[in-house]
Symmetry: C2
Subunit: 372 residues, 2 copies
């Protein structure tokens, strides 16, 4: 039966309850049996909605879309090794967050919701504001004071209301949680419908490889929405018998904000404290990932790992990508720096996939668009 | 026979001559017989290179691509009327110029060229710099002093060398022309291979409509590269018998820089003088379009027209698009303002297609990223 189910106490709720966490306080997952039509899929539009039967939105008329997804899987040379790069930075709002926002806002429309709140360092907020604009849903985005002006300008252009909160991302989360007592919380971290969008990332990779899973996928691990979505997606395809395995998932964090990496490396069961965070990877400066346990379980179950990369490695990798003609924001370069580190440590032949998460235009103009 | 042919004196040159204009000084066109495979095309990757047999690059190994093109054709409501909007702002470098740059740089590679020059207010320069980076070709971009910092940052990131020139676009053109005496001129205006990329815009629209041509296409008319490319593309499909007509082409200009509109309206044969140009549509501030005669002929032969839109109409239309979740730069809003004007003047049912040309992130941060 299709339902929301608690990741801790296993309490179940109907899919049409407008709730984003369990009464016990834990995150919810979605129980839903996806189906696929590999015969007709190649004839469908090149968007993530080509996997319509695998996405838990009841009526087509509720779908809110800008034809996002089915992004290019581009072969890129990394120091003589071939890596397949999903160009999710070429998305309607400029980041992979469009995948999650499309399904989440579709569900909000299906539920008849007219107003939502969200918290974000920028990209999830931009995506949500854009899809809410198309759906005619009002939205308020809580952001850290240090959010990049170019991202705030984008949110405001879509008509999103911006609330700047002093302090770190944790303080922003807290403010949004308070607001979420009264208004639907369209959180990319908490709301399980977001992952029902990011999972299409895995479907697309497999279809683009001739319905085969790659060996390894290297992904960002901030709130882990792309990593968890990918895990769900690869699992779906294996369960229905289209693919025969789940790839190794490797999560990358900025060393200056690496709670998941530390949990993995030091075998911790609790999220460790991260001091004041100062990293160029502002989009991944997440000290308390709400789905930390799930992210660790996913990576471990695939035989994967976590990597942490230093600031100079991030900036060097960003420059390297730019000189290949791939313009990405600094947060996105955390992942490509992770790819470089992974390749240094491995020698074998394998099909390796990674992602460009956010467009370089999201950085604004370096000499002027500096955050305080 | 495949060849370069002069648009004025009909002199012919081989396709592999590295030249960008005729000895007589006029613009060159390409004579080339495109072919199409409508049976296998739907199975190919969703990029503009799915029309491989229609693009005059000899060897596949010379193709320089980021999997650009085959952009979404999204249905958007304009005050109760349905318009099909090609989302070319969702392109690798953030504008439709990627189409032309992909073919032009592929040809440069085919010719063994290692260094190019170009002049641009930003978007063509960004596109060229990105594709040159992927091809390992050096490039120098001449830009007006008032070019947006966010665009210059993008060109520089790709490794493009920037030369700022005082004065208007005409002065920038002149400086590039001087440099082009020594180095291959990869001009989006002069070089006919650029149009061999933008023509795929028309192919895609027809394929997306079930291999039918729409009634009307509303396009930007600055240097007219998308308009002329579309004209070529629609003509190709009709000539081989896939479609049965060429749509009405409507070109839009900003009223403050509208030489083509004035030529059309006042039936002029020469390009009129435009005084000092001050428009928010910096990407279309072209006072002397080098292919002006061809643009006028194309529009007239389709029964089309030119429209001019005022600054307040451009800004209002940009805001309207943003509030629909479509983030576009101000130059792109010239076209959507033209759509609004067109719809005010027409009542009939017709299939109307238009384009979003450049991403809103190209604007930078409004309050900081102001041009002098």
């Amino acid at each position: 039966m299709d339902q929301l189910i608690c990741s801790r106490c296993e309490a179940a709720y109907g899919l049409d309850e407008p709730r984003w966490r369990c009464d016990c306080g834990s995150v919810l997952d979605i129980e839903f049996k996806p189906s696929f039509d590999v015969v007709s899929t190649p004839f469908r539009k090149p968007t993530m909605w080509r996997y319509r039967e695998a996405i838990p939105i009841r009526d087509d008329e509720h779908i809110v879309t800008f034809d996002e997804g089915f992004t290019s899987l581009l072969e890129v040379d990394f120091k003589g090794r071939s890596v397949l790069v999903k160009q999710d930075h070429v998305s309607p709002t400029g980041s992979f967050k469009d995948r999650g926002a499309s399904v989440l806002v579709s569900k909000a429309r299906e539920l008849g919701i007219s107003e939502v709140v969200e918290d974000s360092s920028g990209n999830a907020g931009s995506a949500l504001a854009a899809y809410c604009a198309r759906a005619g849903i009002g939205c308020t985005i809580f952001v850290p004071e240090a959010a990049r002006p170019v991202k705030l300008a984008q949110i405001a252009a879509y008509g999103g209301r911006i609330k700047k909160i002093a302090g770190d991302r944790h303080a922003v989360d807290a403010a949004a949680l308070e607001a979420a007592k009264a208004v639907y919380y369209a959180s990319h971290c908490w709301n399980p419908f977001f992952l029902q969008g990011t999972k299409t990332f895995a479907y697309e990779i497999c279809e683009q490889l001739g319905w085969q899973a790659p060996d390894t996928v290297i992904l960002p691990a901030g709130n882990g929405t792309l990593l968890l979505g990918s895990y769900l997606g690869f699992k779906d395809l294996m369960r229905v018998g289209i693919t025969s395995r789940i790839p190794r998932l490797v999560g990358v964090q900025a060393a200056r904000c690496a709670p998941l990496y530390r949990m993995f490396t030091d075998n911790l069961t609790e999220i460790p404290e991260t001091g004041p965070v100062d990293t160029v990877a502002d989009g991944m400066a997440v000290t308390q990932p709400v789905r930390a346990g799930q992210i660790l379980d996913a990576v471990k179950s695939t035989g994967g790992a976590f990597l942490a990369v230093e600031e100079d490695e991030i900036l060097a990798s960003q420059k390297l990508m730019h000189r290949k003609g791939l313009y990405i924001e600094s947060t996105s370069a955390v992942v490509t720096a992770g790819v470089e580190k992974y390749l240094e440590r491995t020698a074998g032949l394998e099909t390796l996939v990674t992602v460009l998460t956010g467009h370089g235009l999201k950085t604004g103009t370096p000499e002027r668009d500096t955050t305080p």
